[in-house]
């Protein structure tokens, strides 16, 4: 990773402004409406790293799918740079909790999917190599997904997103399935990637510490139907440390908000 930083030059993409206005969303479960999001209002500045924190199953992931354009909200509007989100677009890329690589494609072919789908290959082959280098997988370019470890798969999934130079990266518990050591490494790597590439990042997590180590701002959600209960600014320089007293204080505040008074 450190070596990669010197060689690869990622052109700074235009980061996006995201506006979520009065968004509510319902699913229908066995015919009965199931409200998951309740009047969400959120403004994200270009280049900001925002963590969405809340109890599991509260609807954070649904909010990401709405921003990605995979689903339409039942009520309200979502705007990027003032334009309403209609359908998925490669400028806003979602990285799922499970890496979900295509098992029939090699790592390189998986990373290249976005460029291939938009007809940018083979002209933009260099971007694929750059993305592989960025996540340190150039040696595994020809490997098949089932030959990779969990951490490597998730890195490949990250490269598959980053190769498109997204202006808005949506991360849905991207590190949720990794072992704790890989997870710590990847947290640092993700922050460095974000600092270097300058995209806007929106990350769902249910790990308070992870949110505080990585994000500029932490949005705390209530249980389903999700409502924003707090927005906390984390004004600490990177790289951050777990035992930073300012972070400890914020951690306590968030635990109180989530209802774990004794933590």
């Amino acid at each position: 990773m450190v070596a990669a930083r010197r060689h690869v030059e990622v052109p700074p993409p235009r980061a996006l402004t995201l506006d979520i206005e009065q968004v509510s969303h319902r699913f229908s479960l066995h015919g009965a409406p199931l409200p998951v999001l309740d009047q969400i209002d959120l403004h994200v500045e270009p280049g900001e790293f925002v963590a969405l924190l809340g109890p599991s199953g509260c609807g954070k992931s649904t909010l990401l799918r709405l921003v990605a354009g995979l689903d339409r909200p039942t009520q309200g509007r979502l705007l990027v740079d003032g334009r309403e989100i209609g359908k998925p677009d490669p400028s806003r890329i979602l990285v799922f909790q499970a890496p979900t690589l295509y098992p029939w494609r090699t790592v390189r072919q998986n990373v290249a999917v976005g460029l291939e789908a938009r007809g940018l290959l083979p002209a933009e082959n260099r971007r694929v190599d750059a993305a592989l280098e960025l996540v340190g997988l150039q040696a595994f370019a020809k490997a098949l997904p089932h030959q990779l470890s969990g951490g490597m798969s998730q890195r490949a999934a990250l490269a598959r997103a980053l190769v498109n130079d997204p202006s808005l990266l949506l991360l849905d518990e991207p590190l949720g399935q990794l072992d704790s050591l890989t997870r710590i490494t990847m947290q640092g790597e993700l922050v460095r990637l974000w600092q270097r590439a300058g995209f806007t990042a929106l990350m769902v997590t249910h790990d308070v510490e992870e949110a505080l180590l990585m994000a500029n701002r932490v949005i705390v959600f209530s249980p389903r139907p999700a409502r924003i209960t707090a927005s906390l600014t984390v004004d600490r320089p990177y790289p951050r440390h777990r035992d930073d007293p300012a972070l400890q204080a914020l951690r306590q505040e968030i635990f109180d908000l989530l209802g774990f008074a004794e933590a």
Partner: protein, 328 residues
């Protein structure tokens, strides 16, 4: 047919009859030499042509096995085959004794090994022609059926409209054995060849359609979500996501279709087409030429097994990315 489908799914541990000393091949060689001398030294109960020729071939095989034990590269392969080769020598000897030597088995129905030699050497033009005819008919019908079934399956799995209109027809007509169409097909089509091609295509098409459809329907929806966020259009989703993901299912359908196409081929050739191995079988049976019948059956078994092997090879290439493939 169903056993073929199972074979492609069920993992079977590989049984390896191994002996490190290498005497197994030598023993098999000795057994074949024994069978050869038994064939040539023990007089036949009746006249059978090619007895000496058969004995010579058995002797040569035995000699090669015996000598091969000392050739390192050869003996490594032989070691694995030796138990089977040894057993075959014993089977040939017992068969020879029960038929040509003692005539323990009723005469016209059971032919001795040398009768096979006679058929293959004297009757090879019609037999070879029959194999080519069968292969041509089978290949044409199978390819049409497989391609049609695949396209239909993808269309049903992908498009709600196509599904609405095709599904009921498929449910009604698909399970009907293709051979049930035989009388109608021979009446409607201009030639028995085109009728048989149609029936083979029909028999192949149904399993391929259903399994392709189920493969497409079962694709992990996250695969689509990811492709869509990365800018994929409908065409890309079908060709580069849905079809590759469904391919393991498609191959199960192709195997089932191949099995079904074999039985339709034989029935069609027995009942209408005036060529091919099915026709030859029927013809030989009509003339009480049982040796010819067995010889044709053996050829048919080799042909079908060869085609299954070919399909396995294609699948191994196409699905090389899968873990734990069954090796045929």
């Amino acid at each position: 047919m169903s056993s073929l489908a199972d074979a492609s799914l069920v993992h079977r541990p590989r049984v390896r009859a191994d002996d490190r000393t290498g005497w197994g091949a030598g023993l098999a060689g000795l057994l074949w030499l024994g069978t050869a001398s038994l064939t040539v030294l023990w007089p036949n109960a009746d006249d059978w042509a090619y007895t000496d020729g058969l004995a010579a071939a058995e002797g040569v095989l035995g000699g090669i096995l015996l000598l091969g034990t000392w050739v390192p590269r050869f003996s490594a392969r032989l070691r694995h085959l030796a138990p089977w080769l040894g057993l075959l020598a014993i089977v040939f000897a017992a068969w020879e004794v029960a038929t040509a030597k003692l005539e323990l088995l009723p005469r016209p129905f059971f032919a001795p090994p040398q009768a096979f030699v006679e058929v293959y050497l004297d009757d090879w033009p019609p037999l070879g022609g029959s194999v080519l005819h069968s292969l041509w008919l089978l290949t044409t019908g199978y390819l049409i059926g497989a391609l049609g079934g695949f396209i239909t399956g993808v269309a049903i799995g992908w498009s709600r409209v196509v599904g609405y209109w095709v599904h009921p027809v498929l449910r009604l007509v698909g399970p009907l054995p293709a051979t049930a169409w035989l009388p109608l097909a021979f009446f409607v089509f201009p030639s028995s060849w085109s009728a048989s091609t149609f029936l083979i295509a029909l028999a192949t098409g149904f399993p391929v359609t259903v399994l392709t459809w189920s493969g497409i329907a079962g694709v992990n929806s996250a695969y689509y979500d990811i492709a869509r966020t990365l800018g994929a259009n409908e065409r890309f989703l079908v060709l580069k996501v849905a079809i590759p993901a469904a391919l393991p299912h498609v191959f199960v359908g192709l195997f089932m279709g191949l099995g079904a196409s074999f039985s339709v081929l034989v029935v069609a050739e027995m009942l209408g087409v005036k060529s091919g191995l099915g026709w030859y079988l029927q013809w030989a049976q009509g003339w009480a030429a049982y040796a010819n019948m067995y010889a044709a059956l053996l050829l048919m078994a080799l042909m079908c097994s060869g085609l299954i092997t070919l399909l396995f090879r294609i699948r191994d290439r196409a699905l090389a990315w899968q873990k734990g493939l069954l090796r045929w």
